[in-house]
Amino acid sequence: MNIIVCIKRVPETTDADVFIDKSGKDIDKSGLVFDLNEWDSYAIEEAILLKEKLGGTVTVISMGGEDSNESLRKCLAMGADDAIRLTDPAFQGSDGFATAKVLAEAIRKIPYDLILTGTQAEDDGYGQVGVVLAELLGILHAALVNHIEVQDKKVKAHRELEGGLEEVVEIDLPAVLTIQTGINEPRYVSIMGIRKVAKKEIKTFRASDLNLKADEVGLSGSDTRLEKVFLPPVGEGAEILEGKPEELALKVFDILKDKGGLS
């Protein structure tokens, strides 16, 4: 079973104070910590679990600058066999569709049975790359997968629907599955583990290596263009309770008595 996993390095913004940068087209990333996209960490873990069970190889691919090596090495330390980085100035400004085109051209060069991606990325949240990729490669897909069973030349996948419901589908391989968080428990990678793979070669492919013309990728090869970013309008907002913890406790108690029927 040869598995390809597409990953992305993203800034961690969940707990960060976010500001718009001078271009007005992105956030200021200077003070932010970067890591492997959360969805992708579940995708790489799932690939490695499948490899441990069925044998074969795991190849991890990312489109991005040299910084992306950090996330590729994390995947190598987790147990991936090979890492490939797709990099070219022409890739700048690629949306989800253009990104999928670049990934597809690289993947055509590698034998595979199964491709895993995260369902979406924490930064741009397109939620489309894996499904577009499948179409470009002419293979089938299932999105939002939270359970996988491989059976010979096909795979049984559970797709997460709304309201706690799951849909079980069977797909002939090769296929693309986009992985939902919670499918497994991504393994911890120690600093020692990262050091062990520090010297491992990360292959790079440029646009010309992939026979991609400049106008097929980047902004001109994209469906959409980002014009500007802005902070979301704040709603009416909560009445902020102030005071020492004991005073706050009293206020919360009063609200609960009033609104929640607490005696």
Binding site: G125, H141, P245, L248
Partner: protein, 325 residues
Amino acid sequence: MKEIVVIAEHRRGEIRDITWEMLSKGRQLAESAGADLSVALLGKGVNHLAEALKPKAKRVFLIEDERLEFYNSEAYERALTQLITERKPFLTLIGHTATGMDFAPSLATHLKLPLATDCVGIDLEGETFSLTRQLYGGKVNATVSFVKQGPYMMTVRPGAFPVLEKDPLAGEIVSLSSPLTDEDLAKRFLEYVEAAAGEVDITQADILVAVGRGIKEAENIPMVKELAEALGGVLACSRPVVDKKWLPKGCQVGTSGKTVKPKVYIAIGISGAFQHVAGMKGAATVIAINKDPKAPIFSVAQYGIVADLFKIVPVLKEKIKELRR
């Protein structure tokens, strides 16, 4: 005549809310563009659903086939390719849902239509669309335009557009033949599986105390559970807590979990991602405790405490025990 087509979403015999939301927004766009609004319904034995859609659109395109009884991206792609190729709508709207996320990107690619996903705002000026999307988990909004010429396809975030009451349209059901042949589908629907029911039904509680990513470690969960117990309430959580296996799926509030409407909802260490808010915005009163004053949960809550939960929750628990004695 220009046309906008909404792809209806339905499951287990019911039209899903996103369909009404898209028809409402689609009607507004159609009126401003001087276009017709149509809706496409794919399924088997869904004539009653087509009837229900009639007042909301000029045409209801109905494609019935036993291979469409359950949603299947492969079957949807084939059926919708025929419909969109024939009708050439200048805009196709699809829900950014578990269903739409599974077929819109491949359908758009197949038809070579530009696609914008997860739109929370759609404005049309002349022939030009200006869209609003969210980045970085909702921390910033982005204005997005199309690089290419239309026709266009968009996926629409559930809950982003209200359902407005408008005069009914005299919709006409147009039955279309199914393009699906006997050729085997390489993707097959097998069954639905329900998430295991939790020990406690969080949808029935008057007071819910919900914990999120801010709790940091599994070992800290009991602290929040004790607060819930001190209040006579029930413990619930947001998605990251379930992803990390700290609490069972039955405790999860949000799009992929439960929808709750308690009298009081206390959100602890929950930032308020839209998927979570979708599950708890029906709560009568919301109290949020979060150390980030910019957390979106404070826009949903009536009362907020900007503080470190580890300092406030233990005091809250003790004080409430004392006051209730």
